[in-house]
């Protein structure tokens, strides 16, 4: 006979994953309308609804000043108004306008330097102390330095975005190029491929999956740095917009802009993932799941 606590533990562990999946039980489900996929989607929606309910509960319980936490419906409405040709859309576009060129510079420079470091061991050796010295410095700490050198403006913002986001591209490129199977290179040499043909047709395609992963990391970092610089220096963009509406007491607009920024970050990540899946079908990342 089991005591109640044992029974409780049993029922708990029944909910844990270590149960063997029981195919027969799921097959015998008579409600064929509720396919597992649909049930899953419903659970996801319910989870989101639950999170929104938590938000409203925090407001209702007076845990914080309710003026600081507007209702979610109001935030959503404000986001829609702001996105449909309002200031929020302009701010998000301005942020993207400095994010994209900064990231592009970082991508080109990162791939070039990473490849050079991986293919020229002497160069790597000679610059190792410099790189190991720069690497642990959080790039945002250099914003005051960039302000000294460039002053306030687009140039400084682009420099900061590029500098901060070059590192993941550089290191993943280096790892990718170093990890190439030596037999590929030997084959290229046997076929008398020129140095540049070997670089562009063997080394780089092989490193592309890792480069793409590094680029995806860099895109998130670039967004953070773009927003930080805007907040600090008041340049046009969503960072300045959020801070500005907060100072002016437009709380609903502030929350709307924060959640819209989250959607932007999500979309950027999704975009890079899609590009990776479509353009790099041989990437090991695409075989994981």
């Amino acid at each position: 006979m089991l005591n109640p606590s044992q029974l409780f533990v049993r029922s708990l562990s029944g909910a844990l994953i270590f149960q063997h999946p029981n195919p027969q039980r799921s097959m015998s489900n008579k409600l064929t309308v509720l396919t597992p996929g649909l049930v899953n989607a419903l659970k996801r929606l319910a989870g989101i609804a639950l999170a929104l309910a938590c938000w409203e509960a925090i407001r209702g319980l007076d845990l914080v000043d309710p003026r600081d936490l507007p209702s979610f419906a109001a935030i959503f409405r404000s986001a829609m108004v702001g996105l449909a040709g309002g200031e929020l859309a302009a701010a998000l576009l301005a942020t993207l306008g400095s994010w994209a060129p900064g990231l592009l510079v970082a991508a080109v420079a990162g791939v070039a330097v990473g490849t050079a470091l991986a293919m020229l061991p002497r160069l790597e050796l000679a610059t190792r102390p410099l790189i190991e010295f720069l690497r642990p410095i959080p790039s945002v700490a250099l914003i005051p330095v960039a302000l000294l050198v460039f002053g306030i403006g687009l140039q400084m913002q682009l420099f900061m975005i590029a500098f901060a986001s070059i590192w993941p591209v550089l290191f993943s490129t280096k790892t990718g190029v170093e990890g190439i199977d030596p037999r590929f290179l030997e084959t290229g040499r046997v076929l008398h491929l020129s140095r540049s043909a070997r670089l562009f047709r063997i080394v780089l395609p092989n490193a592309l999956p890792l480069i793409a992963t590094g680029l995806r990391t860099a895109s998130a970092i670039a967004l953070v740095v773009a927003i930080t610089v805007e907040m600090l220096t008041g340049g046009a963009g969503v960072g300045f917009y959020i801070e500005n509406v907060r100072v002016n007491g437009l709380i609903t607009e502030m929350w709307a802009a924060i959640f819209a920024t989250g959607v932007l970050g999500y979309l950027i990540n999704a975009l890079f993932m899609t590009i990776e899946r479509v353009a790099l079908p041989w990437s090991p990342e695409n075989h994981d799941s």
Partner: protein
């Protein structure tokens, strides 16, 4: 073994390049004085002034305190919640979309909201640092807990392990390599958020120190502050890697059988 040319050459290159850069910097600083190129001795002086006396207590200690509290909270909460969610497979579809969205909100964007809710207090800075660094730990812990070998769980069940014991003795160790990978990412994010929160809203800490000195055009102090932040970053990363090496000594990634995906 007698060191020969081949052994010395690499170090000679490294020392040569480093010394060359330093000499170049100093030469330019002396010959063409500019506000953004202070002479090296001033930077060194600023660095040591930060490590001794008043500045240590008004710049380094507050920064480290907030970083430590927020980072430890993020690691603890993230790994506990992650293991719970990863083990309760039924729970995952409920929470995953929300986490997948929240993690893409740049933590800087949260800062003004946090300023509104908590005021310009340590609580607000700790919240922002923790918000930024919890998601890598949480998602890594979920993945780690999900990938426990079914055989281990079967053995645990056969031996009638209680749930808490099972979570701590089987699931947690199995998830640790994944969690450590998340913690490493979280540490670098926590450092970034520490600096940002002090640049934007603080009256002490290293971020405030470098921004104030930049406004006063005391450039050497700005560089000194950046160097101290870099030193902290280097020290913490090193400490974390040593801890990882120790805790995960059993994991094959650390034993020669290098498997880049498993490590």
């Amino acid at each position: 073994m007698i060191p020969n040319r081949a052994h010395i050459a690499p170090f000679a290159w490294q020392i040569g390049v480093t010394a060359g850069l330093l000499v170049l910097w100093q030469w330019v600083a002396v010959m063409h004085p500019a506000p953004y190129l202070p002479p090296l001795q001033n930077i060194a002086l600023g660095y040591f002034r930060l490590l001794h006396g008043d500045l240590f207590w008004s710049a380094i200690v507050p920064s480290l305190y907030r970083l430590a509290v927020a980072f430890l909270a993020a690691v603890l909460l993230g790994s506990l919640a992650g293991i719970a969610i990863g083990s309760l497979r039924a729970l995952e579809p409920w929470v995953r979309p929300v986490f997948e969205y929240l993690r893409f909100i740049p933590a800087v964007a949260i800062l003004p909201a946090s300023l509104l809710l908590f005021g310009a207090t340590d609580k607000m800075r700790i919240f922002v640092i923790a918000f930024g660094s919890i998601f890598p730990v949480l998602l890594a812990a979920i993945d780690g807990a999900r990938r426990v070998e079914p055989m281990l769980l079967d053995v645990a069940r056969v031996n009638r392990l209680k749930v808490p014991k099972l979570l701590f003795c089987v699931v947690l160790p199995a998830a640790l390599p994944s969690i450590f990978a998340g913690v490493r990412i979280a540490l670098s994010i926590a450092l970034v958020m520490m600096v940002i929160s002090e640049l934007i809203a603080a009256d002490d800490g290293l971020g405030f120190y470098i921004l104030r000195n930049q406004r006063l055009f005391l450039t050497a102090n700005v560089y000194a502050g950046v160097l101290v932040i870099g030193t902290i970053g280097f020290g913490l990363t090193f400490a974390l890697l040593s801890l990882e090496k120790r805790v995960l000594a059993w994991h094959r990634g650390w034993r020669g059988l290098l498997d880049p995906k498993g490590a």
